[in-house]
Symmetry: C2
């Protein structure tokens, strides 16, 4: 199965969803990975991959290492291997690996190519489309980075067999996100099918990637509709930040964030309580968390303003409009947001 | 005087060469500068500039601070001031300020706009055109960075009155570079006129910027002809690196580098000894160094391979072909290069 991502400025590329093919590159190649992925899949990858000169750089596993020092260690490896402007990086891992490898590729000698081989469901359906790369810092998530498109993405669903159940669920959350905001038919299909089954999984990945690709093709640099992909993220980022990125997986925080956004939709009459419940049930089918206890509501609210999606000190919210459509707005009243947050408070 | 830089992908912009106009920006603006420039010109700039919210970040003066930590300090200031995606950075200083401000702008929230107000002759004629941004690291110069075009460049030649004579000469070296490689008429005009005179200076800046703009318009990402702008730089970078960036100004090292490249041109019959002498005399008219004593020729040669312009372990040389034309080649034989270097050795 192949999905073509159409982008302007010669940035188009293809996503291959299948058992990994033989890959050969007539350049120096550096695989960027972490010990977990490497332990499970590196030998398999190496049987499929050949290059003029191949090396591997292993970086620590986890969101908390997604910072500039890790980027510098990737770059250092590349300089030591004397990579030139024709060389290639391969991101071999989940979203963190993808974001960092892409960012390192975007600034190494002012930009070299990279290929993604995502190994988690979340990175397969989400991080593999869009060209957003970056790192976190003390001010928040993904605040430093670049738009840098891969030249190809290879998704091998068989690699998901080693994925922990929670991480699988975190990936499903992003799939649900795509369906709720853009594709009612896909949402209903998800209600009726179990994507833990192999063939359904392939279909769900392809459908999700296609939906996202369609959005990104229209708006590569997020001047408009692309912002809708942040459904659940405005809230989710604050949850991740408040819990120091070590309580919830990104997709889990997005799951809770979608429920918060839906509560706002219901309050504003954009969504029925029944639709809200259907989203909740779909998330819970995959054991994705849907509740959260906010300790300090004002503090939670203040956190929004550090998110880079806030222009002119207004917060941009993405709200589902029923199922299969959405609304981007920065006109939500503070008291309405506070009201929604109270539904998730400790009090 | 206005020079239009035509680039694909909506990246075109204008260079204004004149007394600074009144500038107003309806966004948050951060001026990036250093203590030297700030001491001479910041008050003047502030009388011309207004913005929705204006702040200044001052970074240490000098090439040796052109590294990632300084970028991070610029970014930190921007986060503290809560710059958003519509905000603007202004590079107010020489080439180092321009390269770092542009790089910081390119990665802040995956890219925001920046404007250049270059205050040295070198940055006015060279760094203001081309969109190359970046930093140095222990492996060499400008090895990490991005292509990021400014949205406008304002060149006020009156700011050069405070420029030390050596720095003026370093700028002239880049002007001579443009003339030797691309414009015979301009070279002859430079031989006949003194650009220390005000009106000549304006003409020389405009002519140099136009010539470079013409090259960059044809080849923004340096896949071909743009590499010719590195005339003198392949050698110059090694000289800077060998002398730890504290003996020669960049333009001075390029001046010496041009003499090395010309020696190769003469050896290969691409340039007459008379032409070589005319370039030397033009450089010396502005007290730009033209000689250098290499300590270890093999070591000097090895240094080329760390330069990012070397593909497939071949070194790309830019050689003048007479005056007003040039040749890009990676086919120079090692023994010929060594022979040329011997002309600049201590032995």
């Amino acid at each position: 199965m192949t999905v073509k991502i159409n982008l302007p400025h010669n940035n188009s590329y293809e996503i291959f969803i299948d058992k990994l093919n033989e890959l050969y590159f007539d350049t120096k190649v550096v695989i960027v990975t972490n010990p977990t992925v490497s332990g499970f899949h590196l030998e398999y990858l190496k049987t499929k991959l050949s290059a003029k000169e191949l090396s591997v750089v292993t970086i620590p596993d986890g969101e908390k290492y997604k910072h500039m020092e890790t980027i510098e260690s990737i770059l250092e490896h590349c300089f030591e291997k004397r990579l030139d402007r024709k060389s290639l990086l391969i991101a071999f891992g989940g979203g963190v690996i993808g974001d960092m490898t892409g960012f390192a590729a975007s600034i190494y000698q002012r930009g070299i190519d990279f290929v993604q081989i995502p190994t988690t469901l979340l990175s397969q359906v989400d991080a593999s489309v869009g060209g957003k790369t970056g790192i976190n810092n003390k001010f928040g998530k993904n605040l430093v980075g670049a738009f840098h498109q891969p030249i190809a993405v290879h998704i091998d669903p068989s690699m998901l067999q080693t994925l922990p159940k929670r991480e699988f669920g975190a990936g499903v959350a992003e799939i649900v996100k795509m369906a709720v905001t853009f594709n009612k038919d896909f949402f209903e299909w998800l209600e009726q099918n179990d994507i833990r089954e192999e063939e359904n999984l392939r279909i769900a990945i392809a459908k999700s990637v296609e939906t996202k690709a369609n959005v990104v093709s229209q708006d590569e640099k997020e001047h408009g509709i692309r912002a809708a992909l942040n459904y659940g993220h405005t809230f989710g980022h604050v949850i991740e930040n408040e819990t120091n990125y070590n309580t919830y997986l990104h997709g889990e925080a997005v799951g809770i964030g979608m429920m918060m956004a839906n509560a706002a939709s219901v309050k504003l009459g954009l969504m029925s309580s029944d639709e809200e419940l259907r989203v909740k049930q779909l998330l819970e089918k995959y054991d994705i968390p849907t509740t959260y206890k906010i300790k300090d509501i004002e503090d939670f609210y203040e956190h929004f303003f550090l998110d880079k999606k806030s222009l002119d000190n207004k917060i941009k919210f993405i709200l589902a409009r029923g199922i299969g459509d959405c609304l981007i707005t920065n006109e939500l009243k503070k008291e309405d947001v506070i009201d929604v947050l109270k539904g998730f408070s400790c009090d």
